[in-house]
Structure formats: C-alpha cells, structure tokens
C-alpha cells in the first residue's frame, strides 16, 4: 500500500524531472521520469527504515534548493543534481539507490537489457557439474603450508 503521508510530502512532478536526468531514454524505453514509476519509488521508500525519512528529506532538501528545477534547461538541471550530489551525498545516494531499484524491476527495462526478470527462487539456475580436470595444475604442486 502506498504510504499516503510520505506521498503527500513528495513532489512527484519534481521526482519525475530528476529521474529523467538520472536515467535517460534509451532505445524504445523512455526516460525514467516518463515511465510512471514515481509512485512505486515513493511506495517502496516508505516500506523500511533505510529509506523512510531520508528519501523524503532528500526530496524536500532538493526542492527547497531548486524550486524552479522543472523549468530549467537540461544542462542546468544536471548542474543542480551534481551540486546536490556533492553537497548532500547521503541524501543523494538514497534517492539514486531507490530510483535504480525501481527502474531495474520494470519489465520494459528487463526486455531491453535481456534480463529474464525471474525472481531468483524458486526456479534457480542450472550450472554445469563439477569438472575435476580443472585442478590438474594445482594438484601437481607440492604442499606449501607452513609446518610447525
């Protein structure tokens, strides 16, 4: 469920504009701000202590320093983000981390990068069995542990 309180505190238009600069369009996948993932970012960031609070703070701090961000040209937007990144690395990092998490669970992105999108379990993967011949060289070596 979307955490309504934190959602109210987040300017999702601003978040979308930041996302457009963080993860630009590629091939047939639009830039992250145009993918409709802002609500999911806000939802997930409200789920656990690591992002709770700090993500909201990141957005609010960014907004108060860059109230006209959405109106800026892209170079100025990049400058504003870089400035925020260097002045508030912890806040920026929380924003970037949760943005990457949500972007990379999107099926459109999976398709483009050739990622199966399966969860690791229950299917797992298949690996070729153990092949002892790989130890041929190492087995020729004399023991070299230090005797005492």
């Amino acid at each position: 469920m979307i955490n309504e309180t934190s959602r109210m505190n987040i300017n999702e238009d601003l978040l979308a504009a930041i996302l457009d600069r963080l993860i630009p369009a590629v091939d047939d996948v639009p830039s992250a701000g145009k993918m409709g993932i802002t609500a999911e970012i806000v939802r997930l960031s409200g789920q656990q202590a690591r992002f709770q609070g700090i993500f909201t703070k990141a957005m609010q701090t960014f907004e108060s320093a860059n109230s006209e961000f959405v109106l800026l040209d892209v170079e100025s937007q990049d400058d504003a983000i870089r400035n925020f990144e260097s002045k508030e690395p912890g806040l920026f990092n929380s924003l970037l981390t949760i943005s990457y998490i949500v972007y990379y669970k999107d099926t459109r992105v999976h398709k483009r990068i050739g990622w199966s999108g399966r969860t690791p379990q229950p299917e797992g993967n298949t690996m070729e069995p153990w092949d002892d011949s790989i130890l041929e060289t190492q087995r020729k070596r004399e023991p070299f542990w230090r005797k005492i």
């Binding site: 600069r21 630009p24 983000i81 998490i101 669970k105 990068i113 993967n125 230090r146």
Partner: protein, 541 residues
C-alpha cells in the same frame, strides 16, 4: 545478584545465550549427552519459504529488511551498534541460526601456523591449543553442517573426505581462475557448507539462485536452524525465542546463577541454571558481560583482567573487482563460494608485514545491485548510464581480501553511554582502527589482485581499499589463554573468574587467522561442550 521481579523458572543444567553458529552446536552436543539445556534467543525462527529471494522486490529487500547491517535492518529483535568510531560496520543476524542465516557459508579452516603466531612471527600470542587438538571437532562440525569441497589442497594439511563434491566453478569462476593459473599462483575450490547434492534432513542441493545471503530458500545452505537445532530439540533441548537477555546473574560467591531476560511479550523474567554458556557473538557477548556488572564483578562479568571487549578483530576486507569483456551470467551460483587463493597466506617478511591473506573469489548479482555498485562504485547516472550498466551486468567478478587482523587492546567493544536497544539495555559501541600491518597486507593484496585480474583478462579494475560494510567476522573480545592475568577464558572456553561460565563464540579467538572463522568457532564450541560433558560432575547447583 539475581534481581528478577518474576518467579524463577525451573533450573536447567545449562543455559545457552544465543542460537547462532556456536549456540546451536553447543546446545545440540550437550542435549545429546543428556544435559537439560535451554537457550534464550532474542530473535525468532525463520521460514525458508518466506525468504525474500522469491519476492518481486528481492533487490529492495536485500538492502533493507534482509540487509546484514542491524543498524539498517532495524528489526525489533535487532540491537543497535554505535559504529561511528570504526571504519568497519559490524554485520550479523539475530534469530535462530544467528548470522548463519545470512552468511556466505565459505568455510576454510585455520592453518596450523595460525595457532602459533607468537612463536613463529613474534606477534600477538599463541593459542593455548593447536590445530591438531581442534581437528576432530572440525571434522564433526563438517559432518553436521555438510561440507562441499575436495581434498588435496597444497596450501592446507590433508583433511577428512568432504561430504559432497565441490560446487561447480561456473564459466565466471573459470575465467577468474585462469589469471591465477597464468601466474602460477595457488587457488583451490572452496570448502562450503552448501549442498552440492542432497544432504542432511530435508535439505536440497543448491539451485544456484545466487541469493542465499538473504537466507536459503532451498535449505541447501547450512544454517544452524536446519542442522544443529533439529537435533538439539529432538534430544530435549528447549529454546525460547524473542527472549532478550539483560544480564547474567550471579550469587554472593560470584558464580553464575542464570540470566535476567525480557520475553517476547515484554515480561521481565529470570532463568536459573547450573552453568551458563555465552554464544551471543563477538559483539553480543562482551556487551552482555559488561552489562552484567555486579557487586562481585564490578567491572563486568569475567572481567577481572579488564580484557572483556578488548582486542576486537574483524578481518578488514579490501575488494578488487574487474569487468570482463565476456558475458558470464555472474548471478548464477552462490556469491562467494567459487574458490580461494592462499598463495600469500603464510608469513614472508620480505613483503614488509607479518602474516598474510586469503583471496575469496566473488560473483556479482542482478541489475539493481550492479547499478547501485555492488562491490564497487555505483553506475554513473545520466548520459553513459546505460552503456556502463550493460558493460558490467553479468561481467563483474571480484576478489575479496581477508587479511589477518592482529589483536590490539585499543580496538574495543564497550557500552555506549546513551544508545540502548528497544528494551532500554545499553547498546555496544565500537572503537576500531586499522593497524599498519593490516593496511600493508591489504595494499600488497590489492597489487597482486590487480595482476591476477589483468592476467584473467579483466579490463576495468576497481579497488575498494577497505569495505565499510565488512564486519562479518567478530572476534577476540574475550580471548582464551592459559594465563588468567592475560585472558578471559581458559583453553576450554571456561571463564577464569567464574567457573560455571563458558564462552563459545568468536570472542574467544586469540588471533583471527586470514580465513572466514565459523568452522573454527563451531569446532571450538563443540570442544567446549565436550569438555563440559567430560566434567559433568563439577557442575554443582
């Protein structure tokens, strides 16, 4: 003094504090020998079917609810650790199985030389026991936990047959190993407590999902909740979960009488016992001993030397990663269980430092993990993001350096004057600095890791000279020794000050060696338990 405000429960023979790697082993051994054993564990049982590796949000869960850092995870059963004075963050899990729920299960043994560093290299102290004395307990532990691996490693003494063949190396592992082969350097497939085939009770073979560090859904990775604990419970041991121990209690003569704890409903309780075993790990145990100060033990329990909490060792990790031009599906297979190199393990003074290090080979994971850096820096945002992500995904391999961190008294766990857990119990505080010897080791290892990665064909080599979130090995904070003025417990893990108090976790380590410690922790726990069995007549109520 017992200060419980609730009636004592029935007195047990042995009270074990902590149900992790060491607590599970000791409890099972003692219960099977007929002791009435009870364990108090602040966390809970985990249901493997609910591990987050089957969740759509597994990449989020990995960094939050299943993060190894308790300060990030912040579950009710976690306690905070003030690590602001340490470049290394301690990581652990609190629950039945303890940190083995999240561990990588890479299980090398100490070398014989690790027990004799004073004699051989003039540093720290020798252990009061030898490799040979511990060997039978290593073997017993391998059997219960189940070890995949293969004999014949020239860097180590011969050992008993492993229970299962090694886990496959994978194409990524083969690539990394090719660098070592070209340089003529040692490598060997890892001993791992991960099933390469069915083994143990209801435990499947690994299906190479790559995410057992969030708990193993397949029950292929050994954790004590699915190995030692079923045996312990069958033999009559009991465990109370959600039971957070506040202090060990003592009588007027200074002997341990049990523990005060807060149960899962918030009730203050007391459990009385004829003997107490501490298995709360290298941070939890000194914390509890210091929290157990009383009139008869004013500096904390078993702390007449002032050594409780001192000599904290971690194995600070450097991580050197490389990006290969090939796509190798590096997310397939356990993260850190390909192999190791001990080419530079034993002391060679010409290197400018004593003791040595192990390389542990590492895979890498899925897209969000890669984007957020994984073992290296995050993929840059903006133009160029997509190219870089695609370059790294499925192509990054790394080498973790586990250097031998020697004991130093100024590296400590003590009690934070302000920070407490959710029950108001003072939380631990760390003070840790990396020694010059450890730094020199890591730098040497970084140089050689670059050579190995280059020889294997890696192109973009990245060095993290010391990972912050790498305090997975918690050792040394209640060291063992023959001299009661210089150690907290004797060679059996028995407190010099309190004869019915034993410590079985990594706190007792005299030195840390340059390998992951848990087989050694568990072998020591079994040895202590065996000693208690042999001396059962001494446990007077």
């Amino acid at each position: 003094m017992t200060t419980s405000n609730e009636a004592s429960q029935q007195t047990v023979d042995i009270l074990v504090i902590g149900a992790g790697a060491s607590g599970g082993a000791a409890t099972a051994w003692l219960a099977e020998a007929g002791f009435n054993v009870k364990c108090l564990e602040q966390g809970y049982w985990q249901d493997p079917a609910k591990y987050a590796s089957a969740s759509d949000d597994y990449e989020f869960e990995m960094l939050t609810n299943w993060a190894p850092d308790p300060n990030v995870r912040q579950r009710d059963e976690d306690y905070p650790v003030n690590d602001s004075n340490s470049p290394v963050t301690p990581v652990m899990f609190n629950g039945v199985g303890g940190s083995t729920i999240l561990w990588t299960a890479h299980t090398p043994r100490f070398h014989p030389s690790d027990f004799r560093v004073k004699t051989l290299d003039g540093v720290a102290d020798d252990w009061p026991i030898s490799y040979e004395e511990l060997e039978e307990f290593y073997d017993l532990n391998d059997e219960v936990m189940g070890c995949s691996g293969i004999n014949g490693d020239p860097a180590n003494p011969p050992r008993s047959p492993r229970q299962m063949p090694p886990l496959p190396i994978g194409k990524d592992g083969k690539k990394l190993i090719s660098g070592f082969e070209k340089l003529g350097w040692h490598w060997w497939p890892s001993d791992s407590y991960i099933n390469s085939q069915r083994y143990g009770e209801g435990r499947d073979a690994c299906n190479f999902c790559g995410h057992n560090h969030m708990g193993c859904f397949q029950r292929a990775k050994s954790s004590t909740d699915i190995t030692y604990w079923p045996r312990a419970l069958r033999s009559g041991a009991t465990i109370e979960t959600g039971a957070r121990v506040r202090r060990i209690t003592t009588d007027n003569s200074g002997r341990a009488t049990g523990a005060d704890y807060i149960d899962s409903k918030g009730n203050e309780k007391h459990q009385s016992a004829r003997a107490v075993i501490m298995a709360a790990n290298g941070i939890g145990t000194p914390r509890l001993l210091l929290n157990s100060a009383s009139d008869s033990h004013p500096a904390g329990l078993s702390n007449s030397t002032g050594l409780v909490g001192k000599n904290l060792m971690f194995h600070p990790f450097a991580m050197i990663s490389g990006t290969f031009p090939e796509k190798m599906d590096t997310w397939q297979g356990p993260l850190g269980n390909i192999g190791l190199s001990q080419e530079f393990y034993e002391t060679d003074k010409s290197r400018g430092f004593v003791r040595g290090y192990t390389y542990q080979f590492q895979r890498s994971l899925g897209p969000a993990w890669i984007a957020n850096g994984g073992f290296r820096d995050p993929v840059p945002w903006g133009e160029g993001h997509h190219v870089e992500l695609e370059k790294r995904l499925g192509s990054v391999m790394a080498m973790a350096v586990i250097g031998e961190d020697l004991p130093e008294e100024h590296n400590t766990v003590d009690l934070d004057p302000e920070l407490t857990d959710s029950d108001g119990i003072p939380a631990p505080r760390l003070n840790y600095t990396l020694s010059k010897n450890s730094r020199d080791q890591l730098d040497h290892a970084i140089g050689n890791a670059k050579k190995a990665l280059e020889a294997a064909g890696a192109e973009d080599i990245f060095v993290d000279p010391m990972m912050r979130q790498s305090g997975w090995h918690l050792m040394g904070t209640a060291r063992m020794g023959n001299d009661p003025d210089k150690s907290v417990v004797d060679k059996w893990g028995q407190s010099h000050d309190v004869d019915n108090l034993f410590i079985v976790d990594g706190s007792v380590f005299v030195t840390g060696a340059a390998v992951n410690p848990t087989p050694t922790i568990q072998a020591l726990a079994l040895r202590t338990a065996d000693y208690i069995v042999e001396h059962r007549q001494d446990l007077k109520g």
